[in-house]
Amino acid sequence: MSFIKSKFHHPRIPTNDLGLNYRDYEGSLSTLCAGCGHDAITSAVVQACFELSVPPHQVAKMSGIGCSSKSPNYFLNKAHGFNSVHGRMPSVATGANMANRDLIYLGMSGDGDSASIGLGQFSHVVRRQLNMLYMVANNGVYGLTKGQLAATADKGVTNKAGELSLFTDIDLCIMALQLGATFVARSFSGDKKQLVPLIKAAISHQGFAYIDIISPCVTFNNHKDSTRSYDYVHEHITTAAIADFVPMKKEITSDCASGEGEDICLHDGSLMRIRKIQDDYQTTDPMQAIVDIAKYKKKGEILTGLFYLDPTATHYHEINNTCDMPLNQLTQDALCPGSRVLTGINNSFR
């Protein structure tokens, strides 16, 4: 059980469009290690949902098993959560989404959960174009089982126990791009300024959104030789563009002056305002994004930011032509053909 937080509210604490404050978006007190990157992701999710004025109970929090998969317990206490089985969150999220297309699905997984045991499910939920935000806390190890190398660990690095990573790493952003995700980004749990707008845009996106979040494991993968330590990431992180999220209703008052940036209009009318740092930056070509990720990696740098966004994306229910009413709300009248129809069916078997 997680600890109950103090309910004390500062009288002047700011509220959002729903009249809710930041604390209304919090969860139980985290039981992760102090300094774990995952807790920073939690707080980015809280901030993003608060600022977006998402009704907390309209969110379904889906996860697998791992330290990262516990995180949904630490945000949005008013939302239902489902901590399923190791590597299988994508299928459970698929079923939940089939049952009720109206909720917001936030998936939280780890790199062990998604790149090893759940790689098959990960690939297929991308292909399936499920309307959800899928986040992976990428720490290069299995935190919960005490630091074994994950399939995302860079070839040639050693974990804390001195075990060498012998094989090619799996880059889930590249996989997502290749398999048709319509929103793909990488960020760093320690860079809220970048992460929060990405989460907001991903939630507004109607389609499959993937964010790979480098999230250091302070206990098992923060040593000198690690390429997922806070120090290493701070030194080698690079971004090709800065993205701001401009909600539909707000006037445009973001840091970047207009004219300087390029706007991408999201489904709900919000904008993703991009300020390029590298000249060749683009968000329209997934194959080019793959090349860029690999290019930086070769230089020993971690490229972050929004890699790809298809603002015209579609998703499973549109492809399936599912009715607008959530399936879990259809009544017997709509579902059961009744005895008269059955008579005809019986006659077809005589």
Partner: protein, 619 residues
């Protein structure tokens, strides 16, 4: 070599409305629909009939058999033994097929190729028809030459067995409704065979059919169609699945009925979502996710798929999520005999997954019960908040059975179980997801999105307290595990009760059976009577067992558990769950992959009796 045209050593089989026809074909040649037409023709003449397709795990070119039993007495299980008439259309299996003709029986074969000397049996009668030559002459298109061969022999059988030609004509018309161009050529092919047989043989033979009126309201359909349709009626909206024989057609039928019956008339949109998953783990994961979110959801699988779903079944049991799983059992272990039937997943399903688990199982005996149990399973899943596993099998699922017509009570509404609305949540002081407020082990659940402030909880497969909070406190854990047991006890009171057949004066012998073994029971009783033996019967329809099962066992001296596996799995489950001493239950278990026969059961009873007798003499 030409066979003699009369019998030398043996007298011909004589039978009206009581014999077996065995078709030997090559798979992939289109014989299935012709053979099915044959069985349906018997049905339309008012005579009880059953059909078993014995097919290979292969798409084209391997031997396949179709056995039709015609029985005025309604003995519709596989009869076993040799057949009165064999239609041998497969050169590959010809030798074996000739052996499978009963003494005094008939072999209809394609005489375009001559038989060899060892193909000649003196005790059967040969009915040579040059089917290939006829089709070669009549049709230009190679596929047509192939397909119409099947129709030609059906035409010949009509003459030989006295099947009304008009019945066949009406079947062709029904089968090709909408493709009218195909009707005339099919009827022409039937006539080719019919004329040939009439001109060359004395028709009808000494085995034949005669019109009766013995069908009443019954229909002829396979169990998977019934299960798929039951899911439509039961209100299933979300399906995750992965193809595997023999379960695939459950989903295919569900899908095709949904195409007709579940399209929103106003918008043309679907009132269901069918997801072909990447594997069985995902298939059941999808169903569980949907069940958690308040939709009625199911998956169907067989054999290896059950093994893969095991971890998720444990999650659904422990996290208490409604879900329906259709298991169309086939012969295991591993890939086993994928196209043969068995009831060998009883233990694997009753206790699926690690830790202490128990699952609710339903055992339909025929397509009527497949339909009923399939619809019922969604109510039970919602009421009990747990997986409900429908234990069908290949024989039931894929073969056509004569069965009571489906019925539906329009006044009955779905039982959605204990799900709280926003209003109800407002009225509750201190909601706890796993609080047993009613004392039946079943707690109140809430669905995501119901209430802005109340009722949200974290669903997990880890231990939790009554308020869904994570706990490793032993007392909380034990309390929860015992409540789950209490819930299982509640289940025993709402699942289908056993069907018991016993007189005022109890027989010494009690036969316990379930599922498709039911088809052999009436015949078994008749045969036992011939041996001077009487038996009471109990058909298990669900697990957990009802008290009536223990009572029946206590009331009988000599009990047999009849099942289709090697190890007597149902017997083990009874011993384990009802605390019955093992020596009380004898096992009659057939695991050869073919449907149960009465001969096998009777032999099992007799063996036990003579064994007991000789044991008594020794002591």
């Amino acid at each position: 070599m030409t066979p003699p045209d009369t019998l030398k050593f043996s007298s011909q089989c004589q039978a009206t409305n009581n014999f077996v026809v065995r078709f030997a074909n090559t798979n992939g040649t289109g014989s299935a629909s012709a053979n099915n037409m044959f069985a349906k023709a018997i049905l339309r003449m008012g005579i009880p009939v059953s059909a078993k397709n014995i097919f290979p795990s292969n798409i084209q070119g391997m031997p396949t058999w179709y056995e039709v039993r015609i029985s005025e007495d309604n003995f519709l299980a596989r009869r076993g033994g040799n057949s009165e008439i064999v239609v041998a259309m497969n050169a590959q299996s010809l030798k074996e097929d000739i052996c499978s003709v009963a003494c005094g029986g008939f072999l209809l074969y394609d005489s375009s190729r001559a038989l060899t000397e060892d193909d000649i049996r003196a005790d059967i009668q040969y009915l040579p028809i040059p089917i290939s030559i006829i089709c070669q002459k009549e049709y230009k298109d190679p596929r047509q030459r192939q397909l119409f061969k099947n129709v030609v022999y059906i035409g010949a059988l009509a003459a030989l067995l006295n099947i009304e030609f008009d019945v066949l004509k009406s079947l062709v018309a029904d089968q090709f409704k909408g493709k009218d161009k195909l009707i005339t050529p099919n009827i022409y092919a039937l006539e080719l065979g019919y004329q040939y047989a009439n001109q060359h043989f004395t028709c009808p033979l000494s085995i034949k059919v005669e019109r009766r009126d013995l069908i009443n309201n019954r229909i002829m359909v396979d169990g998977n169609t019934a299960t798929g349709l039951g899911a439509v009626y039961g209100g299933a909206t979300v399906v995750g699945w992965y193809p595997i024989t023999p379960s695939t057609s459950v989903i295919e039928k569900f899908s095709s009925y949904c195409d007709r019956l579940r399209i929103d008339p106003a918008t043309g949109k679907k009132n269901y979502a069918l997801v072909q998953a990447e594997d069985e783990l995902a298939a059941i994961g999808i169903a569980i996710g949907a069940g958690w979110n308040g939709a009625r959801a199911f998956t169907a699988t067989s054999g290896p798929g059950i093994s893969l779903m095991s971890e998720f079944l444990g999650l659904a049991y422990f996290a208490e999520i409604p879900v329906v799983l259709v298991n169309v059992q086939r012969a295991g272990p591993s890939t086993g005999m994928p196209t043969r039937t068995q009831q060998s997943d009883i233990i694997a399903c009753a206790y699926a997954s690690h830790g202490d688990t128990k699952h609710v199982l339903l055992f339909p005996q025929d397509p009527t019960e497949c339909f009923e149990f399939s619809a019922l399973a969604f109510d039970l899943a919602d009421q009990l908040q747990t997986p409900i596993i429908i234990m069908s099998d290949l024989d039931l699922g894929m073969n056509d059975h004569l069965t009571e017509e489906f019925s539906w009570d329009d006044n009955k509404s779905y039982n959605l179980g204990k799900v709280l609305t926003a209003q109800q949540l407002d009225d509750i002081e201190n909601y706890g997801r796993y609080k047993d407020s009613d004392g039946d082990g079943i707690c109140y659940r809430t669905l995501p999105g119901t209430h802005p402030e109340k009722g949200a909880f974290f669903t997990r497969g880890t231990s939790r307290n009554e308020y869904a909070g994570y706990t490793e406190k032993s007392s909380d854990y034990v309390h929860n595990m015992e409540r789950l047991l209490k819930k299982f006890d509640t289940a025993s009171q709402i699942v289908p009760v056993p069907e018991i057949n016993q007189g005022h004066k109890l027989a010494q012998i009690g036969l316990i059976y379930f599922g498709t073994s039911a088809h052999a029971i009436a015949e078994t009783k008749t045969q036992l009577k011939d041996h001077g033996l009487a038996a009471d019967t109990l058909r298990i329809r669900a697990f957990p067992f009802n008290d009536a099962v223990s009572e029946f066992i206590n009331n009988h001296q000599l009990l047999f558990v009849i099942e289709q596996n090697r190890d007597g799995q149902m017997r083990s489950l009874l011993i384990n769950e009802q605390e019955i001493s093992p020596e009380k239950l004898s096992s009659i278990a057939n695991c050869d992959g073919l449907p149960m026969t009465s001969t096998f059961i009777v032999q099992g009873v007799l063996d036990k009796l003579s064994g007991d007798y000789s044991a008594k003499q020794v002591s």
